[in-house]
Amino acid sequence: MVTTSRLIAYLSLAISLAGVIPLFVWLETFPRLIVVLGLAVGMLQELRQGRWYVKNWQLNIALVPLFSWYILQYSRSNPIQPVVSVLAIMLAVRLCGEKNTRNLLQINLLALFCLASTSLFDLSPSFLFWLGLLLLLLPASLVVLTFHAQNNTLALQGRELRKILMAALLIVLVTLPAMVVLFPILPRTAFPLWHFLNPPVSGTTGISDKVEPGSTANAAETRTLAFRAELPRQTQPPYWRATVFNRINGNRWSRNPGVPHETIIHSGVPVSQTITVEPSASRLVISLDTAAEISLPRLRVSPDAVFENLRGFSRRTSYTARSFSGSIRSTSVPIKRGFYLTLPERLSPGIRHLADQISREGRSDAERLERAEQYFLNGGYRYSREGLPTGHDALDQFLFVSKQGHCEFFASSLAILLRAAGVPARLVGGYLGGDYNELGGYYLVSEDRAHVWVEAYVEGKGWIRTDPSRFAVNASTLWSDKKRPGFGARLRLVLDALDYRWTRTVVTYDFERQAEQLRSAGTKLQTLEHGIRWRWLLLSGVLLFGLIALFKIRRQWFCSREERLLRRFKRVVKSRYVTLGNVDNLGLFEIAAASGDTRVQQFVERYAAAVYQDKKLGPGEIRQLNRLLDELK
């Protein structure tokens, strides 16, 4: 036995916790204190059986200066904190006050608002957990509150309570699928209405705008996520292209935006992919090398297949790209060779000597490229992120002394060698490989996968991708993803797959995807072959008819034997004694008396003897009664 007032008090405490816990970490100190105080007072009141109220008017008066203060705090640059602080404080205050029906409703609503405001700070899938918890608790609370509002001294028996909670649970079970249906079709606008409320992302990760080997002795390695790319598993670790560095100054490679015009002819297999990038300060659009088209609304495309998103990636964004995975890209017109042959003002004698040698040995671009690659392959170079050569002659040291470095050393020195040998070359910045998540069907690429490789122009063929880092003696251990991940890693991949699904289906869902889904549904209907359409219509017609028929006869099939028998009896009497009129309005004994038929009376007596005493008819009795009806027919 439990009174409704106690039950809803407990439920509203649980709801407040579910609403305020996810918000708590984002609150400032003062609202945090108030929230803790409010929860403590609320719990204490429950321990004291709901006594010791602070009067409502006292609380409301106490709120006035707080509200005024937060209104003054509100500004264009600080729009969120005052709002969420007021929400949290109001919730805490309501918890201290009297728990009447109105206040309890307010507690429920404020807790929901608190959770909703969490999404202004954080878009992680844990939101779904808290929302699910609230969706479970809120209906239970509202239903019990309805009982409480009708009779505030109501005490519920265990059985009744179970039924009521079951009803609330059923409502939740109906709510969830309806929510899933409603979410994608709720109208969105093309322009983000509430964008200004979102805090700016202070991300600094992303592709750097320069490559400068020799600037540090140790390269930092971060495992932060850069992006995820949904596409079938590739046989080779995929190259993700982001930018091209075409200008060298000293040891520093950077990008000259005035890229000379060239027209690329793609080759290889087209691969479609969906890329979801983490928020970053960079505008570069990453795609599988080399993308032919990318579905982003405001895009700047350079002739060297570098895409820039003019809107930036201030929030987690998804886009699709279509790439050609071939490592050679021919151009329809000859490129401007001079642009890709410029060398640093000061080139070390060692490099110049090596370049001359390559130039002499190879007569064409292709041969020279091959010689240069051979040099790296046979040179015994090691890939390393530590003990790197530094200073202005870092490349010289790397090539001829230490012979160890990371991709920037490999790529930078190869590109310079090629240019010095008369082969146009440029550096391509991006990522290499990634952890393939089988469950989610995507590559998980972290910042430490950032990579630089070389594109060399071979007359008659086009731009050829060559990655000198792969000629390192220890290359095979670096980029092979054949290692079997441990349990922890596998668990992380599963969790990441969930996180990815969450991002793809919820966080990045927008007006364009909505429109696209509508379009694709329309196209699918249009492109249905004529014959298939007829067959499809016929099939659905038959299915519909079957469902209607099933609905009609459900009473017949799903009722007890006694009911079936009674229905048959009424049918028989109706057809035999038309003068009786509507037998449904008559009692059984009235029918028997009105018909004057002994068989009808016999039926009624036997039937009534059993059914009116709440007994079930045995199979023998049913047979006998059916036989009587057969005779009557």
Binding site: S119, L135, L142, V174, R315
Partner: protein
């Protein structure tokens, strides 16, 4: 690009879905709940009468919650829980202001379940007819008949079979056999019978015209009070517009008389 915040959209769609689900649950809750009102034996105008209420939940698996039954401006009953396929008996107090043949009228089945935002209702027109007797008003009259007398004051000239044993006399052949005093008769040669007095008071004939009261309704009310008071004790008759209903006693007869009063002038 992401329009606004999809998590807020998620909350909004959850709320919308919840509204839809509660709407459906509310509809399902009052669906198949059929009220039936059974009137009590006697209903007097202006006096609360307790009707028997039978609420049938025809849904096989789904119980109904917080069912409120009301009869337009009359009575109300709240049933917190009606189990699936359950017949729940309760009572409902209704008051009819006027005498005559009345019907209960519209019964409304409503419920604020599952959340107290909206109340759904469903109306049933009940053709349960009942005869409402005139409101009984105490009367100082004794019915105004000449032969009327207060009970207990009558002379004991009337013999009967249900009073005290008053004497023994010879069997005349007219007395019923059960009056024979077999024990005494066995001692002598003649059959002796017991003589009983009659408990019944003399009949009372109520003449409507001669009852006190300014209008006919007041007279009817006094007549109803007299019938209610006396009918179990003595034979009561009624004279209405020169038509006489012969005196008799008992509950059945009383309700016959009261029905006459209830429908007086309504024919």
């Amino acid at each position: 690009m992401n329009t606004g915040n999809n998590l807020l959209f998620l909350v909004v769609s959850a709320l919308l879905a919840f509204m839809a689900a509660t709407g459906y649950a509310g509809m399902l809750n009052i669906k198949g709940v059929i009220p039936e009102l059974l009137p009590p034996d006697e209903i007097f105008a202006g006096t609360p009468a307790r009707f028997n209420l039978l609420l049938r939940n025809k849904k096989r698996y789904i119980p109904s919650f917080l069912i409120r039954l009301s009869v337009a401006g009359n009575g109300e009953a709240l049933l917190p829980f009606v189990g699936s396929a359950e017949n729940l008996a309760s009572t409902m107090t209704l008051t009819f202001p006027e005498r005559g043949r009345q019907t209960v009228g519209r019964i409304s089945v409503s419920s604020p379940f599952p959340v107290n935002f909206f109340t759904r209702y469903w109306n049933y027109s009940s053709d349960t007819a009942c005869i409402v007797y005139p409101r009984p008003l105490p009367s100082a009259d004794n019915g105004a008949g000449d032969d009327a007398a207060r009970p207990g004051s009558s002379t004991k000239e009337i013999r009967g079979l249900d009073g005290e044993l008053e004497g023994i006399r010879e069997y005349s052949g007219a007395e019923p056999l059960r009056a024979i005093h077999w024990k005494l008769s066995a001692r002598g040669e003649e059959l002796l019978v017991k003589e009983f007095g009659s408990r019944s008071a003399p009949p009372l004939i109520i003449k409507l015209e001669s009852l006190s009261g300014t209008d006919i309704e007041a007279k009817l009310s006094h007549a109803a009070w007299l019938i209610k008071q006396r009918a179990m004790e003595q034979p009561v008759g009624l004279e209405l517009d020169g038509r006489i209903i012969l005196p008799a006693s008992g509950r059945r007869h009383a309700s016959l008389l009261l029905t006459e009063l209830a429908l007086y002038g309504h024919h």
